[in-house]
């Protein structure tokens, strides 16, 4: 027996769901009809997998370091990302919403799962769940508490429901204790959940 340090869940050899069958059938037909190739599909998946929150972290770190860039980001999110050399695909409408001491923003798509994929890649499963999509617009403070974010009443919560052509990212507030950090050091503080708004970046604990 070979021993290694992770468990093995059972093989997913069960029956396919309706939509898994439909996807496989549709993909097979489109390949058969020459609309695209299997390699085209693989390459698109690879392109999306290569997009990660680290791309967005660069944008936020630049906005923290450069107030003029921040204003450009708030006025045209897509152009600001492209300015840093980030490919955003064709005709993407990214809106950055700014957290301040008085306002905290959080993003949802109640109708489906719209998310700033072209900047930071795929959303987590919980973001696509009915529970998140129904509860965030209705009881945002309770949902945020469940993510460990308990905001006082003096902070206004703004929920953004991506119902149409815009895609949203939260521009988190720069945490205290980050003075003098380089852009790379700042970028390392910003995680995926900060872009959704269920977390805020925190400076690493500084030994006194």
């Amino acid at each position: 027996m070979n021993e290694h340090d992770h468990g093995h869940p059972p093989d997913q050899g069960g029956p396919m769901t309706h939509y898994q069958i439909m996807e496989e059938a549709l993909r097979g037909l489109l390949i058969e009809k020459g609309v695209f190739t299997a390699e085209d599909v693989r390459r698109e998946v690879e392109k999306m997998d290569a997009r990660t929150p680290a791309r967005g972290a660069r944008v936020v770190a630049r906005a923290w370091a450069d107030p003029a860039y921040k204003e450009r980001l708030l006025s045209d999110g897509t152009a600001a990302c492209e300015e840093l050399g980030l490919d955003m695909g064709q005709t993407y409408h990214l809106v950055a919403v700014e957290n301040t001491a008085e306002v905290h923003n959080v993003i949802v798509c109640t109708l489906c799962s719209c998310y700033p994929r072209n900047l930071i890649g795929l959303p987590p499963d919980w973001y696509k769940s009915r529970a998140y999509r129904t509860r965030l617009v209705r009881e945002p403070r309770e949902v945020l508490k469940e993510f460990g974010l308990d905001l006082p009443g003096e902070v206004t919560i703004r929920v953004h429901d991506s119902t149409a052509d815009m895609r949203y990212m939260v521009l988190p507030a720069r945490p205290a204790g980050t003075e003098g950090m380089s852009e790379d050091e700042l970028a390392a503080l910003i995680t995926r959940d900060c872009f959704i708004g269920v977390a805020v970046p925190r400076a690493e604990a500084v030994a006194s």
Binding site: H93, T110, L111, V137, R138, E139, P140, R141, E142, G153, T156, I157, R158, V159, H160, D161, S162, T163, A164, D165, M166
Partner: protein, 99 residues
């Protein structure tokens, strides 16, 4: 672009059924809010969903709603809001926002 509404305008969401592809969420129907920004003109997704071209383009707005107005028993603060993107054909001018 000949957008009918401008930022700051009070608007009401038409209380009408969504036939087919849904883009105006039910929870804002019949509710009033303020235009937060004009997003631009886009093809109508209610037509695009049926492989039609969605033209002529429609003006899209972000409308800000007060949470207390949306949910009678809202548990947060009086200032909490939800911003929703809504197409012009779903909006009417509102006389004034409810207190």
């Amino acid at each position: 672009m000949s957008a009918r509404f401008r930022p700051g305008d009070a608007v009401a969401v038409r209380r009408a059924p969504s036939l087919g592809h849904l883009r105006t969420p039910h929870y804002v129907k019949g509710k009033m809010g303020v235009v937060e920004r004009v997003c631009g003109d886009f093809p109508n997704p209610e037509e695009l969903a049926y492989a039609r071209d969605g033209l002529p383009k429609r003006a899209l707005y972000r409308v800000r709603f007060n949470q207390r107005h949306l949910w009678p028993d809202y548990g947060g603060t009086d200032e909490d809001t939800v911003d929703v993107e809504i197409y012009e054909h779903w909006l009417e001018p509102a006389e004034e926002l409810p207190a």
